[in-house]
């Protein structure tokens, strides 16, 4: 009797718990909760893997997993149907290494007894115990932008000094979820010195790297001795040594950022000397080391970007000396060579993937097209975005292709990939569907012709816009003045002068209005360098929402309001 009563009580509790959970769900105040986690993309042209010629099929996914890819799948009732008849489906892209959503941890305060010749590890940029997830936000606009470009997984790398910490593998799904796929994937390393303290130079960084490595190895010996023999002094591993132990034991690779040929050689020579597992990332110029990369068998992640063509564009045809022309030719030669490097990797039979670090999400299509125009095969390009990073990251079992049982990471496009007119309609990451507006390609006349538009655009773009942008350096803003002269958009923009106080002004160039999206560029001079900043945003009435992207730094949200519209031509 008693027992039965107890059972009934337990059941009652369980039911109550279930009910209350359901009640919370039903009254979801945001209204954002999705009605189903089952989706079917029906009768689309599906490319399961690089090299697949594509065939008509339906893809069924549920709870973030691909349940099947085929032509005769039974679709459950709760499946939300995405009619794919005119659409194309590819595996979601994988970022071999990137810094989207990562913020740099605050600098640690120096202790009172600080000695610059022997600083604490944490102050000298040596923080191998840190983990990228601790400084990652899936809600960052950078994550939104890269996902919009087709990326569904990223190995995020912590920001910091020579050993900033360990990387994490994130799926770029719903920001509120725990999107961690795997932690402690690799130990990030940079040839980055500490200002005003040891190691203060590249030479110091290399020496310090050896020192940390060898002493970690000795500490492991000490621990082994302590475990086996009595009467041994207690081992006292430092936090750095504890964190570096899996590297020394060859369980965790070092992800070395090496942009140039010399840096690549230096990283490989350290690897040969010490014997750790090495993955190179952030490669920019590597033509002369392709043989070395091949013979050393080092996996590589090249930057998903092509060199800035400002230097090529600024070359003048007239009024320059023969010597200057010869210099121009050398820069042009170097530029052309740089574009062909990815194709050379393919020819040499080297498996490579991309790193999004320093890249611009909005330029992904353009960059890939440039690489393909310069000899990279479409198959190799897709492999570098899907199966190759999956293999380098050791996640081929869960990602990289469209197969039953793999993560529901895929992209749905309006045409085959790597075509200029192809747009991404949906990105599905971790089973969550992200929809993107398909813009009708405006005729080229709008951008190039000088005649005024026959029918005035319903969107008011001309006038004075007041904008603010959020960057790591804080909030900044100014005025954007947009004018249309002879049908061509142009104007000026003011911004916080990076060299001091006050505002600086720049001329707007390459302005265009496509649908509701206004985009333009302007040059900012800082510290002897000139950076081209791109602003792109969607106009809704008198407001504009978008992003501001700076090369090498990433992109940041920008908001603007039209304070004084002008209708003049």
């Amino acid at each position: 009797m008693n027992k039965q009563f107890l059972k009934a009580g337990m059941l009652g509790l369980l039911v109550a718990g279930w009910l209350s959970q359901a009640a919370v769900a039903q009254s979801d105040p945001t209204g954002k909760r999705r009605v189903t986690s089952t989706y079917a993309i029906t009768n689309a042209t599906v490319f399961k893997a690089p090299g697949d010629p594509g065939s008509k099929a339906t893809i069924l996914i549920k709870d973030g997993v691909i349940l099947g890819v085929g032509s005769s799948l039974a679709l459950p009732k709760e499946a939300k149907i995405i009619a794919g008849d005119s659409l194309y489906v590819y595996p979601g892209f994988i970022d071999g290494a990137g810094n989207m959503g990562i913020t740099k941890p605050k600098d640690v305060e120096r202790p009172k007894d600080f000695v610059s010749s022997n600083p604490p590890d944490e102050i000298a940029g040596i923080t191998p115990w840190r983990i990228a997830t601790d400084s990652y936000s899936g809600a960052s606009t950078q994550v939104d932008e890269w996902r919009k470009a087709g990326f569904t997984i990223s190995q995020v790398v912590p920001d910091g000094g020579m050993l900033p910490g360990k990387t994490s593998l994130m799926v770029l799904g719903e920001a509120k979820n725990n999107n961690l796929l795997r932690n402690n994937v690799a130990m990030a390393a940079n040839f980055r010195s500490s200002r005003g303290m040891y190691p203060a130079t590249l030479a110091g960084v290399m020496a310090k790297f050896r020192d940390l490595y060898q002493n970690t190895s000795l500490t492991l010996d000490h621990e082994k001795l302590y475990a086996s023999n009595a009467g041994v002094k207690r081992p006292q591993a430092s936090p750095s040594q504890v964190a570096l132990s899996p590297v020394v034991q060859k369980q965790m690779p070092v992800l070395f950022t090496a942009a140039t040929e010399l840096e690549i050689r230096r990283a490989i020579s350290l690897q040969k000397e010490l014997g750790f597992k090495l993955v190179l990332t952030g490669l920019e110029t590597y033509e002369s080391v392709i043989g070395l990369i091949k013979s050393s068998g080092t996996p590589i992640l090249i930057k998903l970007q092509v060199p800035d063509d400002k230097s090529i564009k600024s070359q003048k045809a007239d009024g320059v000396t023969e010597a200057t022309k010869a210099q121009y030719a050398r820069v042009k030669e170097s530029y052309d060579k740089a574009l062909k490097q990815a194709a050379q990797l393919e020819q040499a039979g080297i498996m490579f993937a991309f790193s999004t670090t320093d890249g611009k999400a909005a330029d992904v299509q353009k960059t890939l097209k440039t690489l393909i125009d310069n000899g990279l095969s479409k198959k190799a390009a897709l492999a570098a975005l899907t199966t190759n990073p999956a293999s380098i990251l050791g996640i081929s079992g869960m990602a990289g292709t469209l197969e039953k049982g793999k993560l529901a990471n895929l992209i749905v496009t309006t045409d085959t990939l790597f075509k200029e007119e192809t747009q991404i309609k949906h990105v599905i990451a971790d089973g969550y569907v992200f929809d993107y507006e398909i813009k009708k390609k405006t005729t080229k006349a709008e951008n190039t012709s000088a005649k005024p538009e026959a029918a005035p655009n319903a969107i008011t773009v001309e006038g004075v816009w007041e904008y603010t942008s959020e960057t790591p350096a804080g909030s900044s803003g100014g005025e954007i003045v947009i004018k249309r002269e002879n049908g061509v958009l142009g104007g000026t923009i003011t911004y916080d002068d990076p060299t001091g106080s006050g505002k600086a002004s720049a001329t707007i160039k390459n302005a265009s209005l496509t649908g509701k999206t206004l985009s333009f560029e302007f040059d900012v001079a800082a510290g002897g360098m000139s950076l081209t900043v791109t602003i792109s945003g969607e106009i809704n009435g008198k407001t504009m929402d978008g992003s501001l992207s700076v090369p090498q730094m990433g992109s940041f949200p920008v908001k603007a309001t039209l304070s004084s519209p002008s209708q003049s031509n």
Binding site: V115, S116, S117, G196, M197, Y198, P199, A200, T201, L202, A203, G204, M206, A207, R210, D211, Q214, N215, S217, L218, D221, L225, N229, A230, V232, K233, P235, E261, L262, R265, R266, T285, E287, S288, V289, I290, G291, L292, K294, S295, P307, D308, K310, S311, S314, Q315, A323, T324, A326, Q327, Y328, R330, V331, E333, S334, Y335, Q344, Q347, A348, G349
Partner: protein, 463 residues
């Protein structure tokens, strides 16, 4: 299959990695030159045959074996490749100026074979340079001896792999300014400099003992001795004590030079060369007796207080007192006319042609420990050679061709306006300024940022 890929790669010019370990070696017959051997006198109208990078024959009427090019040097002078015992050309980093002892630093890590200074040095007849750490620290980094094999992208190709290890020490104002005044730590005075060196060596002795003890103990059963901490810094100092490394010590004043001589006597170190050594003439007999000599400027001084008491007779006085003496550049500009610098010892001190030429060839070779390989024109030596129009000690001398290992890397007739190996794809082509980058390649390079960080003394002089 792999082979095929390599063949294709080689065809496309990608095959750099394959022939990595192989340094290029050439064969050539140079005919009818006035051969200045430096060690074996001058040979009028003579021929030098080079085969596979080595000088195989000296004499008259030599004939070229099949496939070996002949160069007619009638009316021209042939001398051994010039050796600069103090340079910072071809380095991406010069000073790790953050600690008083940084003997763990390896300049070989930061060699940049594409630096244009290497080609310019070749144009001045220099085939070997001693790429040194700077003088910010009492004990700086380990230097790299370079062979100017211009055209390779691989640092390993320009490093003279068979040269012995050397290390930079520095006395006087530079280390006391950087560490004492700039950073409030030892050394603040010349006494502190001596203490840093002695403490360093004593620690190295302890370090070596600790490792010897551990290595003996670890093979014993039931061992409880734990491994000592690893320190390449102390290991390198221990290697100096074991005679495995030649010290090259930045110094100016006689008192500090004599101080270091006392230190090395106490620690039984034999291999020391003094660099700069402007007051070397005051302690020339001591330098001659206890050290591997001095490497000096021909006539450069007064750029800071400790370099005022100087004379252009310094090299000749050292030489006449039996000290091994060389003339160096410590400058990307002076390295282009070291033959001219050597000639100054004739104007100030009346040295013979052979003595003056030895100052930039066999003498620096001895100070770098490579005199069995380079530094003179002798059968069996590596074929580092320069053909001059005019006698190299003449004011009108112009180098015509420079060879390293029998391979011609400079030819004045093929000297293009733009000899850079590598150009950035994003380089903005700007007007050229003759005096751009004059701060580069100096002893105190890379230290500026360090000063700024501490609002410390920020002085202009660099040596």
């Amino acid at each position: 299959m792999k082979k095929h890929i390599y063949l294709i790669a080689a065809f496309l010019g990608l095959g750099v990695g394959i022939s990595q370990a192989q340094v290029q070696k050439g064969s050539v017959l140079i005919k009818n030159a006035t051969v200045l051997t430096v060690t074996k006198g001058n040979l009028e109208s003579s021929d030098v045959l080079v085969q596979n990078g080595i000088i195989t024959q000296l004499g008259k009427n030599l004939t070229a074996p099949a496939g070996v090019n002949t160069i007619d040097a009638t009316g021209k002078y042939l001398m051994p490749g010039i050796i600069d015992a103090h340079s910072h050309v071809g380095l991406d980093v010069v000073n790790e100026g953050s600690a008083p002892i940084t003997s763990e630093i390896r300049m070989k890590d930061v060699v940049n074979p594409t630096e244009i200074g290497i080609y310019r040095a070749l144009a001045g007849g220099v085939t070997v340079s001693h790429a040194m750490h700077g003088s910010a620290n009492v004990v700086g980094g380990q230097n790299a001896t370079l062979k100017h094999r211009w055209g390779s992208m691989d640092p390993a190709d320009v490093i003279m792999q068979d040269a012995p290890r050397t290390i930079k020490f520095a006395l006087g104002e530079n280390p006391t300014r950087v560490h004492g005044r700039g950073n409030g730590i030892q050394p603040r005075s010349r006494m502190g400099v001596e203490a840093v060196i002695r403490n360093g060596f004593n620690e190295a002795i302890q370090y070596k003992k600790a490792w010897e003890k551990y290595n003996l103990a670890k093979v014993q059963k039931g061992n409880t001795t734990t491994p000592p901490a690893y320190s390449e810094r102390l290991q390198t100092l221990a290697d100096i004590l074991d005679g495995k490394i030649i010290i090259h010590c930045h110094s100016y004043r006689a008192d500090e030079i004599y101080m270091l001589i006392n230190v090395i006597k106490d620690f039984n170190i034999k291999k020391v060369v003094f660099q700069h050594t402007n007051e070397g003439f005051k302690v020339a007999p001591e330098i001659a007796e206890y050290t591997m000599g001095a490497s000096v400027f021909a006539d450069w001084w007064a750029y800071k207080m400790e370099v005022y008491y100087s004379t252009a007779f310094n090299a000749a006085i050292l030489q006449k007192n039996g000290a091994l003496t060389s003339i160096n550049s410590d400058s990307a500009e002076l390295i282009r006319h070291l033959y001219h610098e050597a000639a100054k010892t004739q104007r100030y001190g009346g040295l013979t042609d052979e003595e003056a030429l030895a100052m930039i060839t066999i003498n620096p070779a001895k100070q770098l420990g490579i005199e069995d390989k380079v530094g003179s024109i002798e059968v069996g030596k590596q074929a580092d050679l320069v053909i001059f129009e005019g006698h190299p000690l003449s004011s009108y001398a112009v180098p015509q061709m420079t060879f390293v290992d029998g391979v011609k890397y400079f030819d004045i007739k093929k000297d293009n306006n733009d000899q850079r190996q590598w150009v950035a794809a994003t380089e903005m082509v700007e007007p050229i300024f003759l005096r751009a980058n004059e701060e580069a390649n100096r002893c105190m390079q890379d230290v500026d940022a360090y000063f700024e960080a501490f609002q410390g003394a920020f002085l202009k002089e660099k040596h």
